[in-house]
């Protein structure tokens, strides 16, 4: 699944409001933690990566804007929203200068709309393979499913990219020009311990499979994927097209049936 709920921190000293907002967010599939004060919020931010923080302006220990600034220091990528019951244009301006969104508690509809506008967390995928054509094809297929894959042609590049970006999934070819795929996976795991590794190989074996699984990664042989499933899919697709053509013909549209039938025959060449 490309979508995963956001990790959200809600900070407010009004317990009832806090719970009701958190509950609503959970219903939308987000993971929500709550904090009743600025200090608690900062503590929570030190413990876990956040996608979004929703902060009340008036907190018992500090100003909401201060909390937002400090959260930003801890996690530069976090998105922030200021909520307030007592807003005015000045606060709004101040909030927006922090490139943070601003909503009044009296108009929560706007807030929910904004929240649903935030894309769910992007799962970033790193593809590492020295075969550029294969890499391109794989990236295109992954893009269709709604992900933005990062690409690397060598192990060195992959590690460089992993240092600069947060990686959730890494798909690594076994044979790379500069290093072994297993080494790359190990190094990626050092940088991002929770990365899910997948090893792809044209030259597999039981030993390699074991080694991959020891790294808590999945293992696939390249040729199994393409040929077998491709073959089955092609046969089924051709059959489907042919039957559709037969259906068209039997109900009187012979010209289109002929065209579709031709395509079913050519189908195999198309895919090669």
């Amino acid at each position: 699944m490309p979508e995963q709920g956001l990790t959200i921190l809600v900070v407010d000293d009004d317990e009832q409001f806090l719970e009701s907002v958190a509950q609503r967010m959970r219903l939308r599939g987000h993971q929500v933690s709550t904090a009743a004060s600025g200090a608690q919020a900062l503590e929570a931010a030190r413990g876990a990566r956040l996608d979004l923080a929703v902060v009340d302006l008036r907190l018992p220990d500090m100003d909401g804007l201060v909390v937002i600034t400090k959260l930003r220091e801890l996690q530069p990528e976090v998105r922030t929203i200021l909520l307030t019951a007592h807003g005015d244009d000045k606060v709004k301006e101040a909030t927006e200068s922090l490139s943070s969104a601003y909503f009044e508690k009296g108009r929560m509809a706007g807030f929910w709309e904004f929240l649903s506008g935030i894309p769910f967390r992007r799962v970033s995928i790193l593809l590492v393979d020295d075969d550029e054509a294969f890499l391109g094809a794989l990236a295109a297929r992954i893009q269709i499913k709604g992900y933005e894959p990062l690409r690397a042609l060598t192990g060195g590049q992959a590690i460089e990219i992993a240092r600069q970006n947060r990686i959730h999934v890494a798909v690594v070819d076994m044979r790379l020009p500069d290093m072994d795929g297993l080494v790359v996976l190990t190094k990626l795991k050092e940088i991002h311990p929770d990365v899910a590794g997948i090893l792809l190989t044209g030259h597999g074996g039981a030993k390699l499979k074991e080694a991959t699984e020891a790294l808590n990664s999945a293992y696939f042989a390249k040729e199994d994927m393409g040929s077998f499933w491709g073959f089955i899919r092609r046969v089924l697709r051709n059959l489907e097209t042919t039957m559709a053509a037969a259906g068209m013909a039997q109900h009187g549209d012979v010209d289109d049936a002929r065209r579709m039938g031709d395509k079913a025959e050519d189908g195999e060449e198309d895919k090669k």
């Binding site: 259906g247 068209m248 013909a249 109900h251 009187g252 002929r258 039938g261």
Partner: protein, 326 residues
Amino acid sequence: MSEALRLAWRRAAAAGLILVLTAPAALCAADEPLAENGGAAPWWIWPPILLVFCFVLGVVAVLAGVGGGVLYVPLVGGFFPFHIDFVRGAGLMVALAGALAAGPGLLRRNLASLRLALPVALVASTCAIAGAMLGLYLSALDPLIVQACLGFTITGIGVLLLLSKNTEKPVVSKQDAMSLAFGLSGTYFDVGMKERVEWKTHRTLLGLALFIIIGLLAGLFGLGAGWANVPVLNLVMGAPIKVSVATSKFLLSITDTSAAWVYLNRGCVIPLIAVPSIVGLMLGSLVGVRLLTVVKPRLIRRMVIVVLFFAGLRAIDRGLGLGLLG
């Protein structure tokens, strides 16, 4: 493709057609002694014969542009020694199998329109149930009544196939209220013309009313109803021919399912008849599609219409007990 090969294909197709034309006659001769001697031919001879017969029928149905189910009931009913109820039950299964196999491909290409199919299917399949019950009731009274009615219908279908001229893209100037309410419009990509075609329908109420009759007939005789669906969708309701044809095929998978239940429930679907028929027709239509590129279907279509007339008149003859056609 070389001219010689083309000629060879044409000969093969002609030979297949002759087989269909002669098979009923030959089988007809075989079926008379069977009736008299009480089983001179062993029972297991019929499934293989049916398989071969339906294979050829499948090829011809595709080439002639006539539904397999429409050819199946009159020909098998007329020339095989099976009770008409079993033939109708198997005929429904045959039409259903073809429709279900074609459905996914047609829907994927956006040629079969779900929006257009569903209201129509609701009407047609309700009436198909009624038709199936009526048909079984009538044949319980006397199978000859059904034979005669079938004969008239088949002859009518022959006339319809001979005369109907479908329109490629009917002009629909104003969508009527009912069509608007059901959202009976859509768009598809015409591969041949390389353009997007938008379409809408009109005269919806009249179209739906006609589907009452079509549904009844489909259930009554176990025919696929492409011959009637297409003209109504195309000429009356104004859907483009491609959409009409594809939707009509898809429609059968709903309409005939309802009728098939009635036949199944009454024990009228005999696997020994239905299975070879379905397998034969499916394989036949697979081959038929391959042959489409090398065969001129016009002549075959005319010949099939002649066969239909013959089968129809024979059924009338039998049903009314005139004894003019043997």
